[in-house]
Symmetry: C2
């Protein structure tokens, strides 16, 4: 019997190491030609699979596949798209089965966050419901680190390392300039609901008094009076104040601070930008010059300063996904299990997709300091090992040498088009 083919797709906001997971999947599959035929990739995630827009990865060289390990972003394209329930969107799932059947796809790997694990779960159920035998495995990925069951999520460690490094560097800057120029610096961090990334900025501090002096976590309601008092106290004590704040900062009424109605010079509603808001507040109420930064996409694609630990884990979950599939497992996700903090040891275990999908793991209360403006020693023990190790990409002409795959389309086999 000929080996069945596989389909791999990437989903949601990209990270600097999701391609390392792709590398793990593709290299492992290539080592089992007796069991896995071609690996197709979905162009731009699941949404284009419905359009039968598949990439034939067998046309990519081993060298290019290896280069994925050090290339950020989603090489096959990603999407923000959630499949509906099987009951209500049966036509969509029937179409999916048509595509799978036409290309003899027996293995499905979906690499993403909580929503994507939900999609992988639904597709595993689809096989049974529509009488098409197949294996569906989720692969974890999110800079937000908000997936349950797994100890951490690939993508987080590298974003955390980028943020803590950048904050440490900027803090040196503010400290040097504070006497005659800016005394406050605010760094805005991604993460709408979970404060993991903002918390990771605290790793920049080694000693008492080091920056960041204040964290504004999305788990803690923003209180203007308490915050300004804290800034004043830090300024008096250290002469400068460095703040890491979450883009998802909320007011007491539950509304995002960023959505609270600012307008720009063109008269348009201003999109995002909590850091400028917070520093304006400080300038007006305390009266000192401030700087702010919003690194935005830079923090989730900074492969040049990736965590080696993170890169290894990203590769490992990709490899494990294929191994799980070959062992006949389905509806599971490789999860990272922590065995010890120091020395840091971890392995890969199996997590049922039913337990992973649609859950959001917030920063636990015991990780947040009593005043809400920092993290605890327990949080530091958890976070510290995830940023350890450097994993530099190769450089050419002074810049990281990232690969772009050919991404050639596999010939379509279905005659009917499908409107998503």
């Amino acid at each position: 019997m000929a080996p069945t083919n596989a389909l791999y797709a990437q989903s949601g906001g990209v990270t600097s190491v999701i391609n390392a997971s792709a590398c793990g999947v593709l290299q492992t599959a290539r080592r089992h030609p007796d069991k896995i035929g071609k690996v197709y990739a979905g162009r731009n995630g699941i949404v284009r699979v419905l359009a039968e827009d598949l990439i034939d990865t067998s046309l990519e060289s081993d060298a290019d596949i290896a280069a994925l390990e050090h290339t950020p972003s989603a090489t096959f394209g990603s999407c923000r798209y959630k499949l509906g329930s099987i009951l209500e969107h049966r036509a969509q799932y029937e179409r999916m089965i048509d595509v799978f059947r036409a290309h003899d796809i027996g293995f499905f790997f979906y690499n993403g966050g909580g929503d994507s694990q939900d999609t992988a779960h639904k597709i595993s159920q689809m096989g049974a419901a529509l009488d098409y035998p197949m294996v569906s495995i989720g692969i974890p990925k999110t800079i937000d680190n908000d997936l349950p069951v797994t100890d951490c999520s690939p993508g987080f460690g590298s974003a955390a390392k980028y943020l803590a490094t950048s904050l440490r560097e900027a803090a040196f800057d503010v400290a040097a300039m504070s006497r005659t120029s800016s005394k406050v610096f605010a760094l805005e961090v991604m993460g709408r609901h979970a404060g993991w990334m903002t918390a990771a900025c605290a790793l920049a501090a080694e000693r008492e008094g080091d920056a960041p002096h204040i964290l504004l976590l999305p788990e803690v309601v923003f209180d203007e009076g308490r915050f300004l008092a804290k800034v004043t106290e830090v300024l008096e004590r250290h002469g400068y104040c460095v703040i890491a704040l979450s883009e998802g900062l909320k007011q007491a009424n539950g509304e995002f601070l960023a959505a609270s109605g600012s307008e720009d010079a063109f008269g348009h509603k201003q999109l995002g930008g909590v850091a400028p808001l917070i520093t304006s507040l400080i300038s007006a109420k305390i009266g000192c010059k401030c700087h702010w930064a919003v690194p935005d996409l830079l923090q989730r694609s900074a492969r040049h300063i990736a965590s080696e630990t993170d890169v290894r884990q990203a590769y490992a979950v990709g490899r494990a996904a294929v191994e799980f599939a070959l062992a006949g497992r389905s509806a599971v996700m490789p999860a990272i299990r922590r065995l010890s903090d120091a020395p840091y040891r971890w392995d890969i275990v199996e997590a049922p997709l039913s337990e992973v999908a649609n859950q959001e793991k917030l920063l636990p209360l015991e990780f947040i300091s009593a005043d809400g403006f920092g993290i605890t020693e327990a949080a530091r023990r958890y976070l510290a090992p995830l940023i350890v190790g450097e994993s530099y990409p190769p450089f050419k002409n002074g810049l990281p040498d990232y690969v772009k795959l050919q991404n050639a389309a596999a010939p379509k086999r279905l005659t009917r088009a499908f409107a998503v």
Copy 2:
């Protein structure tokens, strides 16, 4: 005769390699104990010298001085402060001479941009005017690359490498997400008047069609209609659009775009932020989702991704400053002279401070493409070698291991205080 002492100070916005210049000064001075006694450092630039607030660098270990080579920001503190003319502010200069005389300072080294070269120049004139024999040497530094005479300015190459790397990484991100999410990304770059840093972003592109697709340089007046037409064209052609824009973007009336009156939710005048402005414009007029980033201080302190070429040049101008001083030269600045583009070769020559002070070197017209949205091949030939080579700092616990000096105060010898 006992050797005379030296005073070194850092000025203006910091860079990721100004401490490499400090390292060049201090290591070279330590090799000439017969001619140079102690090297004092001004705490926070020239402004605290007037207060006789000097740091005794002889108390720092050789290892810590060596670590300055890989430590960003100004280790002795910096300032934004310009000395007045000798005629009008004679008391200030007399005080300076008092401090110099009290500490037997015969060599003055001032490390900064155009304003700082002016200060170094005035201090060289002060010696003659007030009958105090001394040597004053300027040392170039600015991420803006706007100093004249020198082919490039230490600090620029590393900021350029950071920006081109970050833009390339973010562009991979946008390309992957553009099908179902953001199609436009705008990166805001420092540089109020000169477009060197924004131009450097263009190095991220290797092939036709690569990002950045549009540069908005401060040398080119912003034209809303032409810009939106260009964005539309890029989106139709590539499916996504990456823009690098200068914080100093100007309207036809000469006003900064950033200062054009936006207010935030607290009702305060919004400080800076041209990227959010430009992306709001695109969202409103073209109607697609946009992302924007303002790395701000991160770009001038990102020592983790410094250019090796830049680090070497920063060190070389520091070393040359001391060598010039020992050769009896004064009122000069070590300048970088380009001998060839490829292979890139350079040496250090002497530039008179009178020619360097208070000049601003803008991007020449022949470096700007005909449509104003890009750079020419000549610009690329100039820029390319400046970002070449990596010079990673050591890492500890996953983060760059930067040094903080003790910065112990030298005992004061003057009885009279001085109000700046």
